[in-house]
């Protein structure tokens, strides 16, 4: 991950946003979206490069890959929805932001449902 590149991209996005807002305000959110997309793409590349190391660590720790996958996907959902909600809030759309956040939480819980199910069956097995 090139942090300097990301920092420059974010500063450039903000400058562009300020400029476009002056010229054509309705297109300004698109600039933000573009900037965020660039930063996310850079992050995905970084994540892809560390996948091998993470897999080795998971194997060493004796964790199930599927469960780690659920956890990482939930984290991804939370990050994406939080970013989306922040963009909505920046554009004075808090109701949409709340809806996105809610959708993110529901998505994360749905994704983790198999894990929740195993915990529930374990708890039932313990009690009965």
């Amino acid at each position: 991950m090139d942090t300097v590149k990301i920092a420059f991209a974010s500063i450039l996005t903000v400058l562009l946003y300020a400029l476009v807002k002056q010229l054509k305000a309705e297109l300004a959110p698109l600039v933000i979206l573009g900037g965020v997309a660039v930063i996310f793409l850079e992050l995905i590349e970084t994540f892809a490069s560390v996948t091998g190391t993470v897999s080795d660590m998971i194997r060493l720790a004796g964790m199930k890959k599927e469960n780690v996958g659920i956890l990482i996907k939930s984290l991804g959902i939370a990050l994406v929805t939080q970013t989306a909600a922040d963009i909505c809030r920046d554009n004075s759309c808090s109701s949409v932001a709340s809806a996105v956040e809610l959708a993110g939480r529901v998505g994360a819980i749905t994704l983790a449902m198999p894990m929740l199910q195993s915990v529930a069956s374990l708890a039932l097995g313990l009690i009965t």
Binding site: K64, S74, R105, M115, L122, I127
Partner: protein
Amino acid sequence: MKFKTLITVFVSVTVAFSICTQAFAANTDEYSVDWLEESGANELAEYLSSETLGYLKRLGCEEISFDKILTVSIKDIFSLLKEIILGGIKTPLKGAAGACGSVILFCICSAFFPDDDKNAFVLNIICGCFLIVTVFIPAFSAVKGAVGAIKAVAGFQKALIPVTAVLLTASGSPVSAVSLQGAAVAVAQATELFAAEGAFPLICLSGALGMAGALFPEFRISAISDFIRKTVTTVLASVSGLFAGFLTLKSVLSSSSDSVAFRGLRFAANALVPVVGGALSESYSSVVASVSLLKTTVGIYGIIAVCATVIPVVINLALWAIAMRAAGALSEFLNARTCADILKNIGFFFTMTNTMLILVCVIFVISSGLVAAIKSGA
């Protein structure tokens, strides 16, 4: 005259030889083998698992023999314990590694949302479930092993009771046999029932509630878990104390009664049987002492067999508890409260199961020790 003297000598010698009892050294080995066969002690090994029999073989105690039990050295015991620990440490270490990995992942996830409580709450639940699935499900086989060991001990105790009763009766302690047999049967059944139907479900319930309380700290479920934990601990302590007192009192009273009966029998033999009364009384004492040695041997064999059944499971559970405590300490260090609470509850679960297993083993050892310690006719 000479003929008369010869006749008198011949008659005297004939009479003397005809009323004499033949005395020779008894073959104690054959005697013991017969008693072991008759009492059913030889069949006790059938109630032990192949793993336990393997441990007994390693110690050289696979047969009920006083000589073999005496040859067991401390070195053998420690080498076997070392082998059990080294063999069983891999899974708890793997569990601890999984727990530490989960805690680190949890901390990474939490670090993304330092101020966002809603997202952090959802991720807390997912991370908690992840920790439980990663650590507790693989560890549950150790708990199942403990339940199996409790059942095995109860089964072995039930098989040992009639054997010790036969040997107690033969060793001149019939009152102790009747009294302790009844008490031992009651205790064996009560222990099994209490462990399987009472304490274990309560420990499980407390563990489940504790973990749920750690996942949802707002609901204060941990308070109920703590209450159950304290109640189970108090009941376990009371039961062990009550049992030890009850059995000691019972054995003291019954051995006093046996002592009176034994002395009465010896006195009757001395007083009522002319000429050989003393010899009869002494030979009765010898027989009783010999059977008593056999009874002690069977008792000690039982204790060793139960220890060989229970100790590997106890070590495994203790290793799991230590592993969970270590992972819990790491969670505290990284300020991951949810993980620390979950790991504390899992650790408690192992500790309590271990305590219950040790209690069952101690009850067996005390009862067998008391039976073995009853002196022949006191």
